[in-house]
């Protein structure tokens, strides 16, 4: 397949992608289509296989099975050709910290084939979007965490790639800076860039056009944040505040009409159908001597979606 194939092809097309390390399956048969100009959030707990998936998309790790097309290029067969079309920021902060901000930009810009006036202009641009105007001569190690992340993003966008892949770009930076970071990503998306961003912050999910939920190497849900919230919850969701939440959760699971019970802090989120929650739940709890403070209907949050989708599915994985 050649670059610039029809719209249907999508910016990133993943089919049956699998990566095994000996007996351990890090990514398990993932199929996914990312549309042009879309911001796709890749969500999942640590060890869900997000980084492994991303590395295979960038062509820096070979899949065990399956196929990846990025910008219409078969990544497995032409790993080097795809790089010019990609901007990638890896999970670790990975610019040279003994080079200055401008030196890093000039190095990576040069590696992407920029030179002369074009390079100078792009370096200026990247410094500006990173909030480093006039600070190009500062050693990268002397920059704060948020600035460094933005510099890495600017670095990945120097060569104007149509596709941007970010692996947990906001981990470890404070919420205020995280929002600025997402605003930048949306600025690029508005210009037609397709972005795939992994995160384990659920509160960032609403910054994405669509979400892909990963757990234990598998893709467990895919849709807009809105779709996921409502498709996921079967029936209604109520929040129950009571004593002894752990014991109460065990007990409520046995009540007819209750699908699922999850503990959130000192309250329970109970998904139910066809029942009058106030009466049925309170009665069951109090019958066992558990005091019930309040019961109210709530809108499902992504935490609920996660709790339901990932549930017993989580497992241990070596840190990457």
């Amino acid at each position: 397949m050649t670059p610039g194939n029809g719209e249907d092809a999508g910016a990133i097309r993943v089919e049956g992608l699998t990566k095994r390390f000996r007996s351990f399956t890090a990514v398990d048969n993932v199929t996914l289509l990312v549309r042009r100009g879309e911001v796709l959030g890749l969500l999942g707990p640590n060890g869900a296989g997000k980084s492994t998936l991303i590395r295979m998309l960038c062509g820096i790790m070979r899949p065990t099975a399956g196929c990846v097309h990025v910008a219409g290029i078969n990544v497995v067969e032409h790993a080097e050709a795809v790089r010019q079309h990609l901007g990638y920021v890896s999970q670790k902060f990975s610019l040279y910290d003994d080079l200055t901000a401008a030196e890093n930009l000039r190095l990576f810009g040069g590696l992407y084939g920029l030179g002369g006036q074009a390079l100078v202009a792009r370096v200026q641009w990247a410094l500006a979007i990173s909030g480093l105007d006039g600070k190009g001569d500062v050693l990268t190690r002397d920059l704060g965490g948020g600035l460094r992340r933005r510099l890495a993003l600017g670095c990945a966008m120097l060569h104007r790639p149509p596709i941007l892949i970010l692996d947990e770009p906001t981990s470890g930076i404070d919420p205020m800076l995280r929002r600025q970071f997402w605003e930048l990503i949306h600025q690029f998306a508005a210009e037609g860039v397709t972005a795939l961003v992994s995160t384990h912050y659920l509160d960032e999910a609403d910054y994405c056009n669509r979400l892909a939920l990963m757990s234990a190497g598998r893709l467990v849900a895919l849709g807009t944040p809105h779709e996921l919230r409502y498709a996921a919850a079967r029936g209604d969701l109520v929040r129950v505040e009571c004593d002894a939440p752990v014991r109460a959760a065990e007990m409520l699971k046995a009540v007819p009409g209750v699908h699922d019970v999850a503990i959130f802090g000192n309250a329970l989120h109970v998904s139910i159908t066809n029942m009058e929650p106030e009466a049925a739940l309170r009665a069951s709890l109090e019958a066992r001597g558990i005091a019930c403070m309040s019961i109210e209907a709530i809108e499902p949050s992504l935490e609920d979606v996660f709790a339901q989708r990932l549930g017993s599915d989580s497992r241990e994985e070596p840190a990457d």
Partner: protein, 378 residues
């Protein structure tokens, strides 16, 4: 191959070195210190072997014999003892390597029977020095008994006919004074170059893996060959500088003769440097950890260059299996070449075989480096 990308990597490496004073220090000071330590420290000559004397007789004859030992540059008499037990104690304590015991009837036996022996107690904890001490002692005694014989015959009028019948006229070539340092210095140079070369590069790739910059680097369109060459070029320049530094110290400080051409020296050193630097890359790329890479680099360069290059132990004396292994130690060829250049002053023609083998190793190592930098993380 894209020259621009290669140079970008090279320039970045230079910046790393210049901004890290420790690495600069290491690069310039380590060869200097190593040359000094090893140049002075490694001495395979045995001169002035400490000798204790227990003379039971104390006659004119015995004292003359002992004065011969005292006059020899191979021995220095450290102690004259009065009992046998004292001789044993001196050996035990390491005050001397050899104790010479002259029997009480020394001159009587010589006069009556024309034949006697003296006892030498030798500390053989260092077999090389023990052997040398024995050989030297025999030589002194042989010269002395020859003199006794000539004196005896001379008194009977046979003096002129009875000099030694066969003598050897030796001329030592390439190292006329049999100066051990002349051999040690080129050998030390090999060790220093092997170590500096491998250590310089062993860190660069491992560091990038540890910090995570390698992942960013390989996500760009750069090719493995360009990373390898870009990293090689600056360290190659530093390595050549170090070679020059070592050679200067050898020639101007240790007075090793330099009889060959600088061009040959540069060519051979360049090939050896590529092998050493390339091996450093390999250790770095395989272990992906700075600590591991340094350890492997030390183990894989220092030990073989010291033990198997023919510098400390002659390869021809090694058992077959070990001798076979030395063919895979690039330092072996570089030692041959350096000795050829420094001491013999021979040109490329005589050194063609070791030079070609070094060239072959250089190619093999670089091919491996490029293969191992295959741009994937798994």
């Amino acid at each position: 191959m894209n020259a621009r990308r290669t140079l970008l990597v090279a320039r970045k490496e230079v910046t790393h070195v210049l901004r890290d004073p420790r690495s600069l220090f290491l690069v310039l000071l380590m060869p200097l210190a190593q040359m000094m330590f090893l140049g002075y420290g490694v001495n395979l000559d045995a001169k002035h072997i400490p000798l204790c004397i227990f003379d039971r007789e104390g006659s004119q004859a015995s004292r003359t014999l002992l004065s011969w030992f005292g006059a020899s540059e191979y021995f220095s008499v450290v102690n004259v003892l009065r009992t046998y037990d004292e001789s044993v104690a001196a050996l035990d304590a390491g005050r001397c390597r050899m104790a010479l015991v002259i029997p009480a009837d020394f001159s009587r036996e010589v006069n009556d029977k024309g034949k006697t022996s003296v006892q030498a107690l030798v500390d053989a904890t260092d077999d090389n020095h023990a052997n040398l001490a024995i050989v030297y002692a025999r030589a002194v005694l042989a010269t002395y008994s020859e003199k006794l014989r000539l004196d005896y015959l001379g008194r009977r009028g046979f003096a002129h006919q009875l000099g030694p019948i066969l003598t050897v006229e030796t001329r030592t070539w390439f190292n006329e004074e049999l100066e051990n340092r002349n051999l040690v210095v080129p050998g030390v140079m090999v060790i220093v170059m092997a170590m500096v070369g491998a250590l310089l590069t062993s860190l660069t790739i491992a560091r990038e893996w540890e910090v995570g910059t390698m992942e960013q680097l390989i996500s760009t369109p750069i090719k493995p060959m360009e990373i390898a060459l870009g990293k090689l070029i600056p360290y190659f320049a530093i390595g050549l500088l170090d070679t020059a530094l070592c050679a200067e110290i050898g020639v101007y400080w240790f007075n090793v003769p330099m009889r060959g051409s600088i061009v040959t020296l540069t060519l051979a050193s360049s090939l050896f440097l590529v092998v050493a630097l390339g091996s450093g890359f390999l250790y770095s790329a395989v272990t992906k950890s700075q600590f591991g890479a340094t350890l492997v680099a030390l183990l894989m360069t220092y030990m073989p260059s010291l033990l198997l290059s023919g510098f400390a132990f002659p390869i021809s004396q090694m058992p077959f299996a070990v001798r076979f292994v030395t063919y895979f130690v690039p330092a072996r060829y570089y030692v041959t070449i350096l000795k050829g250049i420094f001491l013999k002053g021979v040109g490329l023609k005589s050194l063609a075989v070791p030079t070609l083998v070094l060239g072959l190793y250089a190619i093999v190592v670089m091919v491996q480096v490029t293969a191992i930098l295959r741009k994937t993380v798994d």
